[in-house]
């Protein structure tokens, strides 16, 4: 039935398209004449068009102008005896739409995958040279740990009930979601199909979705490695990453993107269009940032980070060029992150990708301005590492609202993020006394939450992704454009991130602390993790500079 319906729909669309183009052509030729209703193309006309297709002999001469390549002759014919039919043409139109969306989603996914390189450079550059190999290796291996866990079970939990996305051909095999009924409403909790990508989920559309979602998940995982760098035991990092890729990330991912209960807040209790997170300020960045906070609390500050009076010492990274180049790689990858989250470029309002890309660009720019101007005006220097963090903060914050806001909103969101990251870094370091060598908690956690909140404030109600979002008709509209209930939905999302994701990550890692221990020994930490943990220096021919006493003395309690 579905096939017939889709066939009929495609046929109608094709007829309408041809009729409109004929009408437009008639108007151009004779503007004074009233537009006449164009008759549907007959089979004879179609055959006539097919007959005019360039022959093999024509094509053999070469096509330098490109006018002979890609014509009616390239439309596959289902029956050579009857020749080209309307059905063949309609099928090709449908396949072209899905093909465009497949290619778009895959290529943007490849861009997001490349962000791993950016993360590796930023994190390693902000660490001391004696830990370079270890930091790079965490960023390298997190890709494998996350991918394996996500293939085994994570994807099924997150997207196992996400059927219905027409951009990627329907994704009908992903049709099982575990749900429960509370106060008379059905709430979806986790997906149940897609483990090992086997059985019915051995499907072209599902594979495209898996690749795209997998690289997003890996981005969240790699955030934690930055906050815990220079003292995290490699073994514990690996086990923790597997568990995060298998459970923590996919659960929240399901609730927000996999038809889970947060996305149902609109349809079930009338909160706007449900929790809206276009590309993952909450799902990816806040989940990563809050997990980073949970693990950084457990693993504790590096030796020498704090003085006896609690004042922090700056521990300078070894390579600012790697940091800034890494930031640019990340900004480049973000053009996959945000525009790619339409999961298509054709149909369903997906042409908004242009707006999404510009919003992304702008927020990164104003984020950089926010951080540079804040540091310059208040601390006297346009600090390079904080400038990089300002760029990333702007990008993180615009990730959730990128598909729903206009350029002015995007610029404001980025600017706020740039200042916020400076304030948050100071708060985390000096008030909470949590040691975060790269500022990951502030960049991704704080600004991830700000991004989620900003959807509820700045969404301008002009986006139209197929006429509805999360099953609620209409466009996502924030408080400043007249819908306070959307803000309520976003606050429920923020509360879930703080109350569930953080607590779950904290308890999970507390169990690992009991069994494995998160932190390397004091001797290993002072020597640098490269040799004891990885067996090789990151830069074997470098001459190490002598560090200050407070970074090289083994604390008495660690040897007692």
């Amino acid at each position: 039935m579905n096939l017939i319906r889709r066939y009929c729909l495609s046929l109608c669309m094709l007829t309408l398209g041809i009729a409109m183009s004929v009408a437009a052509h008639a108007q151009a030729a004779a503007p004074a004449a009233a537009p006449a209703a164009a008759p549907p193309p007959s089979a004879a006309e179609l055959k006539d068009t097919a007959a005019k297709a360039p022959t093999t002999a024509d094509l053999a001469k070469g096509d330098p102008g490109g006018s002979l390549t890609g014509t009616v002759g390239d439309v596959p014919v289902s029956d050579t005896k009857t020749g080209l039919t309307l059905g063949d043409t309609a099928s090709q139109v449908g396949q072209n739409k899905v093909a465009i969306n497949f290619v778009w989603t895959l290529v943007t996914g490849f861009l997001v995958m490349f962000m791993q390189a950016g993360f590796a450079m930023v994190e390693a550059g902000l660490c001391r040279v004696k830990n370079a190999n270890h930091t790079y290796m965490m960023n390298f291996f997190v890709y494998g740990c996350g991918l394996l866990a996500y293939w085994l079970i994570g994807f099924a939990i997150q997207m196992g009930g996400a059927a219905g996305n027409s951009n990627l051909g329907g994704l009908q095999p992903l049709n099982a979601e575990h749900s429960t009924t509370i106060f008379g409403k059905t709430w979806n909790l986790w997906g149940q199909t897609g483990m090992f990508l086997s059985g019915h989920t051995y499907d072209v559309g599902v594979m495209v979705l898996f690749l795209f979602q997998m690289v997003f998940m890996d981005t969240a995982l790699t955030i934690v490695t930055g906050a815990c760098a220079e003292r995290w035991k490699f073994l514990t990092f690996a086990v923790s990453s597997v568990l995060m890729g298998a459970f923590t990330y996919p659960l929240f991912g399901n609730w927000a993107w996999g038809t889970g209960w947060l996305s149902q807040l609109g349809s079930n209790v009338g909160l706007g269009k449900g929790y809206c997170d276009f590309a993952g300020s909450g799902v990816v960045h806040a989940v990563g940032g809050l997990t980073a906070l949970a693990v950084a609390l457990i693993v504790g500050p590096r030796i020498g980070k704090y003085n006896r009076d609690g004042s922090p010492n700056a521990i300078i990274g070894h390579d600012i060029s790697a940091v800034l180049i890494g930031c640019f790689i990340l900004a480049f990858g973000w053009f996959g992150f945000n525009p790619g989250s339409t999961l298509g470029a054709s149909a369903n309002g997906n042409l908004r990708i242009g707006s999404i890309a510009v919003n992304t660009m702008l927020a990164g720019c104003t984020g950089t301005f926010g951080a540079i101007l804040y540091m310059w005006a208040l601390k006297g220097k346009p600090d390079a590492s904080m400038s990089g963090n300002g760029l990333l903060a702007g990008l993180v914050a615009i990730t959730a609202p990128s598909g729903f806001v206009n350029t002015v909103g995007a610029a404001i969101i980025g600017l706020v993020a740039g200042v916020l990251v400076c304030l948050s870094c100071a708060f985390v370091e000096s008030v909470m006394k949590v040691d975060d060598p790269v500022g990951a908690i502030s960049v991704h956690g704080t600004n991830g939450l700000w991004g989620v909140l900003s959807v509820g404030l700045f969404a301008d109600g002009t986006s139209n992704y197929g006429g509805s979002w999360n099953g609620v008709t209409g466009s996502v509209t924030g408080l400043f454009y007249g819908d306070a209930s959307q803000l309520a939905a976003q606050l429920v999302g923020i509360s879930t991130l703080l109350g569930f994701v953080f607590t779950f990550s904290f308890l999970l890692n507390l169990v690992l602390e009991f069994f494995i221990g998160h932190r390397v020994s004091a001797e290993t930490e002072i020597a640098g993790l490269d040799i004891p943990e990885m067996g090789q220096l990151g830069y074997p021919e470098f001459v190490f500079r002598e560090e200050a006493g407070n970074f090289t003395e083994v604390p008495a309690a660690a040897v007692a």
Partner: protein, 125 residues
């Protein structure tokens, strides 16, 4: 002692156990699921056995009750938000209750938990 073969073997055991557990879930096979979980547990106890050999860390003891209380507060805030959603039908009421919930969670996360971990922090010694 830092990274070593014992850790490597333990990690292999963990991955095998985790994979078998997932296979048990996928195939709805209780035997496979049970075997997988046991192998995961074995790997955890392998890690536990290695832990004391790895040297002292630069961490002071921190009160577990306070840590759990901080985590409880973070979760309680979420509970307040969820309950508030059903307590009132008005948007303003829901926003206020969500903000209260967020406040409680943040209190647990950025005040109670850091205080627990920093109580006997090594840099204070």
């Amino acid at each position: 002692m830092a990274a070593n073969t014992g850790q490597g073997r333990g990690f292999v055991t963990f991955l095998v156990g985790f994979t078998v557990t997932c296979a048990g879930l996928y195939l709805s096979n209780k035997l496979l699921l049970g075997v997988g979980l046991i192998v995961v547990l074995v790997s955890l106890f392998q890690f536990l056995k290695l832990k004391p050999l790895e040297g002292k860390t630069a961490q002071g003891p921190s009160p577990i009750v306070m840590k759990l209380f901080g985590a409880f507060l973070a979760a309680l805030g979420w509970g307040i938000t969820l309950f508030g959603m059903h307590l009132t039908g008005g948007t303003t009421g829901r926003i206020v209750l969500a903000l209260v919930g967020i406040g409680v969670s943040l209190f647990g996360m950025i005040y109670v938990l850091p205080a627990a971990f920093n109580k006997n922090a090594i840099w204070k010694a």
